[in-house]
Amino acid sequence: MTVLLSLIGAAWAESPELIIAVPVPEEEEAKPRPGPAPVPINPTKRVRQSVARDVERTVSGTPPDNLFGRYTVVEFTEGGLTDRFVGKMARVARALDDDCTTIRMDFDFGQQPPEDVTGHRPAVVTVAQTRRCDKGGLGVYAEELAYEVPVGWMEGDEYLTLRLPALTVISDYVRLRRPADGDMRTPPQWLAPENRIERDPTEFHILAEPARRGALPVLHLIKGGRVLHLEAAPEDSLFMDAAAQ
């Protein structure tokens, strides 16, 4: 009996891909298969909750069909480790003893193109970085520095390439209090930490994961050994109220 089982096992091992062909009636083959009903895309629908991980996140996907919508960086992979973007930025700020911590980085690829358009690529992209600062005299405040640049695109079978030009963007603040009537003293003033973004000409390879129905696909922006993992940006921007004013 034992010998028989061994023989069966050996035979199974030699032909692991056992495929059973089932004939399909011709009528069924001719019928067009009903495709999924079109679902309007909600650019702010969350794909999934981001999770912290200490292993490398799998990067897979294809070049995106239409590229649009506002995305936020949720995770960052470097040196084989994936980390939450916010957590990594907090650690960087602590290490540098900065008064400001980057809490958000968004890529805005613009409005959704008309339905009959395929292969849409925006001519300009807006990149926005938000920091939370705690500085004596200025209090606790959020600061956003956004820049809008024309971008270049290069199509490929494996990935889409985004070209960002070289630029430097700087912002700075000072808070001043007017001296009392007749007081000629120098007004009290408090300087904010400078905010500077310097970018060399940069190429990102973009991969889009298959999108869930009605959601924007997860994007991976790859540059060398670093990967930014992007998901649809939530609507709860700190500056939403300010923008509406």
Partner: protein, 200 residues
């Protein structure tokens, strides 16, 4: 004495027609803008983009293969004008000096705009949200050197406007001086008749 003689000799020499055009480099401040309607002072030009602010300036830094455009503005951050904020926002893009055809010009290949915003998150921070913007247009900026005026250079922006540039009094904006020159706080609103506290 020797220097004076040299100056006289140099003044009498005609300019070399084959000499390359003078290159515009360094930090310069907008003095006026020439438009088809006339000249507009720089303060009015800058404050047109920042209507709630009381002072502003725009500077241009021409450097080694780069152009930086910066807006500095001083704006009230409280209704009673007790507090102000000074905001600086700048964009720097690659730029190339071109004098191949005998006339000097800076060429910018990338149009960039930037917006800086703040918003207080806790008590004690700035009362009002702030927004400052700046932009640099792509294109050719022909340059002309000017003598004998308050401004030293004229550059023509890609939109056709001519910017007159002067030597800035300071490299960095002097917000304290600007605050001293800021208009006085607006008078408190008069209580309407019948309102509590109104004089009979």
């Amino acid at each position: 004495m020797h220097a004076a003689i040299m100056s006289l000799l140099l003044a009498g020499c005609p300019a070399d027609p084959d000499a390359p055009p003078e290159k515009l480099v360094g930090l310069w401040e907008l003095h006026q803008v020439e438009t088809s309607q006339g000249e507009i002072d720089s303060l009015a030009v800058v404050l047109a983009d920042f209507p709630s602010c009381v002072w502003g300036r725009r500077t241009f830094l021409f450097g080694d293969g780069m152009l930086r455009v910066q807006n500095d503005v001083l704006c009230p951050s409280a209704v009673n004008h007790d507090e102000f904020y000074g905001c600086e926002v700048a964009v720097e893009v690659p730029a190339v000096w071109d004098d191949t055809d005998g006339s000097g010009k800076w060429v910018v290949s990338t149009r960039v705009s930037a917006t800086a915003r703040t918003k207080g998150l806790e008590a004690g921070s700035l009362d009002v949200p702030t927004t400052c913007t700046v932009a640099v247009a792509a294109g050719t900026y022909p340059v002309a050197s000017v003598r004998g005026y308050e401004w030293r250079w004229e550059i023509q922006a890609p939109d056709g406007q001519v910017y007159r540039l002067r030597d800035p009094p300071n490299d960095n904006p002097d917000f304290v001086a600007a605050l001293r020159g800021a208009p006085p706080p607006p008078p408190p609103p008069m209580p309407e008749e019948g309102e509590e506290g109104a004089e009979p």
